[in-house]
């Protein structure tokens, strides 16, 4: 159980760090640029 708790905390820290690095690299803008156009592959056209 101790290892599970440590893993949980480490995963949370890792995820927050990764989000931070992603924001620093402007990755949310890349996500937005794709999401504001109709994804032809997704809807079955492209």
């Amino acid at each position: 159980m101790k290892y599970k708790k440590i893993s949980s905390v480490l995963l949370l820290c890792l995820s927050v760090s990764m989000i931070g690095v992603g924001i620093y690299q402007n990755q949310p803008d890349s996500v937005l640029s794709k999401a504001i156009r109709i994804c032809l592959e997704c809807v079955g056209i492209g």
């Binding site: 159980m1 990764m18 992603g22």
Partner: protein, 277 residues
């Protein structure tokens, strides 16, 4: 118990409405273009759905991986890890719009509902293969191609149908790819009436990802062995065909809480990993 059951549907419906709050889009056929789409939602909700106000994590992950110049998808993967590390598969049970669709379909009466069958648990490994091959490896190899979205995702097909109803010109451009995806969606819809959540069980890469994190997520299910009388009522009621009295944080558990509600000795409860002994 009926009241508690009702709660799950209410929470699922509210979560679906919040994630698809661009109601105007359903009438105009235009998708939302605001800044909230910088953030991925926790469940499977296609960003091409006219109502979507957030981004699909699986679609965004594939797009990040399939760019011409490879960049590690820190942001999308970080968000997925964050949701998984806190909630695990409770996302599937309460927050995923496509989970709600399947749950509603399963309420349609059918003479013989199937809970499990021979090879069921082996077939459930398929979603891990889909996660690794269709969501990670193939998008890296086939540039600019979100393979899972293109060939399998039923959420995208639903989004296409909703868009076409508000912009009927789309019907004229639907071809063989759409026919293929429509067949998959139809199979999932029909199967959902007989088997609970077939897409979550066998195909969903998001469920596979969150399932791996079930054991270490902050939200946990707990089974007090001193209270459990081994009646197996929890196992009998479980739509995902797991036995919570043996493993209450199984990778297949979507934490819907049906086992908790049905337990006569109140042995099963929601807890958090820091309270666990």
């Amino acid at each position: 118990m009926a009241k508690k059951k009702h709660y799950q549907i209410v929470i699922q419906s509210i979560a679906t409405l919040i994630q698809n709050a661009n109601f105007k889009g359903f009438f105009t056929g235009k998708i939302y273009q605001g800044d909230t789409k910088k953030v991925c939602v926790p469940g499977l909700n296609c960003y091409s759905c006219p109502g979507a106000v957030g981004s699909c994590p699986i679609g965004s992950l594939q797009n990040s991986l399939s760019g011409y110049s490879f960049k590690f998808p820190y942001y999308v993967l970080g968000l997925l890890l964050f949701f998984g590390a806190i909630l695990g598969r409770i996302v599937c049970g309460f927050l995923c719009p496509f989970g709600l669709v399947q749950d509603l379909l399963h309420k349609i009466p059918f003479p013989k509902k199937i809970r499990t069958f021979k090879g069921d648990m082996i077939l459930r490994k398929l979603k891990y293969i889909i996660l690794i091959v269709m969501v990670i490896i193939l998008p890296i190899i086939c540039k600019l191609t979100p393979v899972f979205c293109k060939y399998l995702c039923p959420s995208g097909t639903l989004a296409g149908i909703l868009l076409a109803f508000s912009d009927t010109t789309l019907f004229s451009v639907f071809g063989s790819r759409f026919a293929w995806k429509f067949c998959i969606l139809s199979i999932i819809i029909l199967t959902s009436i007989i088997i609970a959540r077939p897409f979550c069980k066998y195909l969903c890469p998001l469920g596979a990802f969150y399932g791996i994190m079930n054991k270490v997520s902050v939200v946990q299910m707990s089974c007090d062995k001193s209270k459990c009388n081994n009646c197996k009522a929890c196992a009998k009621v479980c739509d995902m065909a797991v036995d919570p009295s043996v493993n209450c944080n199984h990778t297949e558990c979507i934490r819907c809480g049906k086992c908790k509600n049905v337990c006569p000795s109140k042995a099963i409860s929601y807890t958090n990993i820091f309270k666990e002994k």
